[in-house]
């Protein structure tokens, strides 16, 4: 009897699991998602991130936005510090190489406003319906650091599958770089079909389409940002670590053209590995020769 009850419960659970995508398709971002705002100082990107029912911290929220929506990011210090978001920030080996500029962590207060987070993002639990914000700027307190623009959960994760996709970048359209598509997810390099492949589940596609993240990410390709200085909205300049001449840069340098830039890295890697093998072989030959000389 008990066994049967348990198996029927299991059946219900399975059924619920099967229906879940349908449910989220109907009411996008219903209960199991959180909003993420990335403010580079000039551009704002908003992401409705599916939490999938599991417990997530502030860092994992970024990683999920990366895999679901192709947000470019780079973390440091064992994955506890944010070095780069949306191609803004430090992409070198030093996570705080752009100091005093850094990514400030804010938490939404539920009514569109922001409070400066006193704890690190990896120690903050993000629940469904929460809003997290990251803003690029100077100042190490809530009073001196620029806060992201006022954002509510509902404005990011629109509840009804409305016909009007909300643009991601309300301030400027033709900003250089920072299209948050790219190498974060294998399939999210360009085009409107972001988060169709490589994302954890097919239902994420609905989420992306409803919020319109895919539109901005794929529609306008970033051009002319191959390093050097990037003029920012407020007039200050952010030094973007430029690919050194002749050096092949990693996938993180160019969000839109990441796939075009990728191949050189493996080639150089093969050169390095071939070199290692050659040196190893040479060493073995030398050792053998010395041994022969020693015997004779």
């Amino acid at each position: 009897m008990r066994l049967r009850l348990r198996s029927s419960l299991l059946g219900v659970a399975l059924l619920a699991g099967a229906l879940a995508p349908v449910a989220t398709a109907g009411v996008a971002c219903a209960a199991s998602s959180a909003a993420l705002v990335v403010s580079t100082g000039g551009d704002n990107y908003t992401y409705c991130v599916e939490l999938g029912g599991s417990s997530v911290n502030g860092i994992q929220l970024i990683q999920r936005a990366g895999s679901q929506h192709g947000l470019q990011y780079k973390l440091g210090y064992g994955g506890n510090a944010v070095c780069m978001l949306a191609n803004v920030g430090a992409s070198g080996h030093d996570c705080f190489g752009e100091h005093p500029y850094f990514w400030g962590y804010w938490r939404g207060n539920g009514s569109g406003g922001w409070t400066w987070s006193g704890t690190g993002a990896s120690n903050v639990t993000v629940n469904a319906g929460d809003v997290n914000g990251w803003s690029w700027g100077t100042g190490d307190s809530g009073s001196s650091h620029p806060a992201p623009p006022s954002t509510t959960y509902d404005s990011v994760c629109a509840t009804a599958p409305g016909p009007s996709p909300k643009p991601d970048k309300p301030e400027r359209d033709n900003s250089p770089g920072s299209t948050p598509a790219g190498s974060g997810s294998p399939g999210g390099d360009s085009g409107d079909s972001i988060a169709t492949q490589g994302s954890p589940g097919a239902k994420d596609q609905k989420v992306a389409d409803n919020t319109g993240t895919g539109k901005s990410a794929g529609g306008k390709e970033a051009k002319g940002k191959q390093g050097g200085k990037q003029k920012d909205g407020e007039g200050y300049e952010i030094a973007v670590p430029s690919p050194s001449p002749g050096a092949t840069t990693g996938a993180s340098s160019n969000p839109a053209g990441a796939t075009a830039e990728d191949p050189p890295a493996p080639v150089a890697a093969f050169v390095a590995l071939g070199l290692t093998a050659a040196l190893g072989a040479l060493g073995a030959v030398l050792v053998r020769r010395r041994r022969r000389v020693g015997e004779s």
Partner: protein, 265 residues
């Protein structure tokens, strides 16, 4: 080759190794340490110390990676990052191991200025402790075997440890006494068999300065290729200049190749 050039080589190799966690820089460096050891290791039991340093290096990687497995929520990035940091330490150890087998433990001592004789003595004793201990172990075991004492792995450890420690102590004392007797640290300095700074030493030091310069410049420039990006895990880039600089550190091995062909003619 001049002992100073070897010291410079080991320092440069170590410095380049600690600036990076990029496996495509570290692995060639490992190969270079191996080639230089293979080309220049001085004959004798201390040549075995290279292998022991290699084993220690492998243990370092394993330990560093294993420690991460105790983290609460572990990701791929953590493992990759830890493994690369372990690799960096392993390369450092291997370079040091190669230096131990190619250099004369007390040749460095002669380079030191007179007034720093005593700290230099201590430093050279400390630097050479591994090859000297390994040499002592093999001598003692050989002696035990010749006397018909059964040599077992763990049982004979105390019987082995005492003479080995004694040998190390004795060597240090004898060295200090002999240096004193020859007038080191007393203002007079022997002219007996002065070490010559040859052309090879010049080549090697140029390569070393170049390697350290390139690595230092990359560090100051905040070169992304120096560190492996672990979150998310991506293929690290490779800067050709850096690779050239690292390969330059293999110059000692090539120089000896020339010597060997000349000798065989």
């Amino acid at each position: 080759m001049h002992q100073g050039a070897w010291l410079l080589w080991a320092l440069s190799g170590g410095l380049v190794a600690i600036t990076t966690t990029n496996p495509f820089y570290l692995l060639p460096l490992l190969g270079i340490a191996w080639v230089v050891h293979a080309a220049h290791a001085r004959p004798g039991p201390q040549a075995r110390s290279f292998r022991i340093f290699l084993i220690f290096g492998a243990l370092t990687i394993c330990t560093r990676t294993a420690l991460v497995l105790f983290l609460p929520d572990i990701q791929w990035g953590n493992i990759v990052e830890a493994a690369m940091e372990g690799l960096r330490l392993a390369v450092l150890l291997t370079v040091f191991g190669a230096y131990n087998t190619v250099s004369d433990p007390f040749g460095v001592l002669r380079l030191s200025p007179r007034r720093w004789h005593e700290p230099a003595l201590a430093a050279s004793l400390a630097l050479s402790i591994a090859p000297r201990t390994i040499a002592a172990v093999s001598t003692v075991r050989e002696a035990q075997r010749l006397r018909g004492i059964e040599v077992r792995r763990w049982r004979s450890l105390p019987a082995l440890a005492v003479p080995v420690l004694e040998t190390g102590m004795e060597e240090a004392v004898v060295l200090a006494e002999s240096m004193d007797a020859r007038g080191h640290g007393r203002g007079r300095r022997t002219r007996y068999r002065p070490e010559r700074w040859g052309r090879e030493a010049t080549f090697v030091s140029i390569a070393c300065v170049f390697a350290v310069g390139v690595a230092g410049a990359a560090l100051l420039r905040n070169d992304p290729s120096l560190a492996l990006s672990a979150f998310p895990v991506t293929w690290p880039a490779v800067a050709p200049v850096m690779l050239v600089a690292i390969v330059g550190l293999s110059v000692p091995a090539w120089l000896s190749l020339g010597d060997q062909t000349r000798a065989s003619r």
